[in-house]
Amino acid sequence: MNDPQTNAFDSNDPAAELDVLLSRAVAGDRAALAEVRARGATDPTVLDELTLWQADELRLARVARELHHAADRVEAPRSGRRWSTRWNGAGWAVAAVLAIAWLMQVVSPRGTQPDASVAGIAPAFQSSEEAFDAYVAKAREEGVLSGEVAPPTLLRSRELGDGRGFEVVIIRQVVERRVSPEIYRIAPSGESGARRTLIIRPRTDLVQ
């Protein structure tokens, strides 16, 4: 192998020399590919190694597609960075804090809204937020909702460009409590270890 500090290729190292040859071959150098195949005629492990390196190259091709997708989604903004002095250094951490503060106001259920509104849930809501609030209130009334609704967790945020604002991606979670007459468990069964579904029923006083 070559020296990682100097990147000097050690021509006396057969393994390093083969790596360079394989690297050229998988990058499309036909002469190198022919040389690898010629060596493979006497040493089949070389062909095995070539196959593995080609599989890795396919992995890299898939990486390329991902990078291209990501790159092609980003356009140059119409003007320079409007918040350059404010955002530099602190980066999007500041944006995240502001976004969370905003989300706490906009997304979280309105604690001040009376539960009385639950009885008159209208079939059509003005917005998904209204529908969510109504769900939370109704779920509390039924005892389904366990504890408080957790504040939204910010996953990421980014500027959309062209003055269109920010994309804020969050996770919003509610913890529900349900009562079920039975539950299921997937477990290995028999010598083959095949997995099957087991029904678990609650014990009664008599069983105990």
Partner: protein, 209 residues
């Protein structure tokens, strides 16, 4: 573009994605485009960005820490290009300047964002959100992400030429010019990068079986 790069592009199934990055030397058209951008033509500047953004994504992927959003970093680089392109001396120094901007953005992310983002993600995972549920992707995309995770474990010295060649179709000569190192150095770094990746994939596949 030399013969090996052309063959590589055919091999990997990718056309040369961006014009600026696929030519060893800056063409007249590219230089003209940059001049128009420097003169304040907004559309020309947008075109300069589109011509460079794919190879910049490769540079960012090689230098950014795991868990950082690549699109955020690309946005940073695009903003810097728009805000500061008048500082670039000439068209010939554009790519080198963009590469430095990208590496700085990646390093900044490592300091200020990476830890926070990982913490948020780990928090989400702790709260019962499986990775598979968090990001539903098909097999190819999942493998691409998995491979990017492995590449992130390589030293950037090796990851960058590997991504520039394998993912972007740049020739060794083009990479050497971009990194400002001899071609022989690029060749040995590429071989070493592929060997390192092979060992990491072997390790990963060993864990899976």
């Amino acid at each position: 573009m030399d013969g090996s790069a052309q063959t590589h592009n055919q091999h990997s199934g990718f056309a040369a994605g961006d014009r600026l990055a696929s030519e060893a030397t800056l063409s007249f058209a590219e230089a003209r485009l940059f001049e128009r951008a420097a003169a304040g033509e907004r559309d020309a500047l947008a075109e300069v960005w589109r011509a460079n953004r794919r190879w910049l994504a490769a540079v960012l992927a090689a230098h950014a820490p795991r868990g950082v959003d690549l699109e955020d970093l690309l946005q940073d680089v695009a903003e810097t290009l728009v805000a500061k392109h008048h500082h670039i001396r000439d068209a010939a120094s554009l790519r080198g300047w963009l590469r430095v901007v990208a590496i700085n953005a990646a390093r900044m992310a490592a300091r200020s964002r990476g830890v926070e983002r990982r913490a948020v993600r780990e928090h989400a995972l702790e709260r019962g959100m499986s990775r598979a549920a968090a990001v539903r992707v098909d097999g190819d995309r999942e493998q691409a992400r998995e491979t990017l995770e492995l590449i992130a474990r390589l030293p950037p010295l090796y990851a960058e030429p590997l991504l520039l060649q394998s993912a972007q179709g740049l020739s060794q000569r083009q990479i050497a010019e971009l990194l400002d190192v001899p071609e022989t150095t690029v060749e040995t770094r590429l071989a070493r990068a592929r060997r390192m990746l092979r060992e990491l994939v072997r390790e990963l596949e060993g864990q899976a079986t």
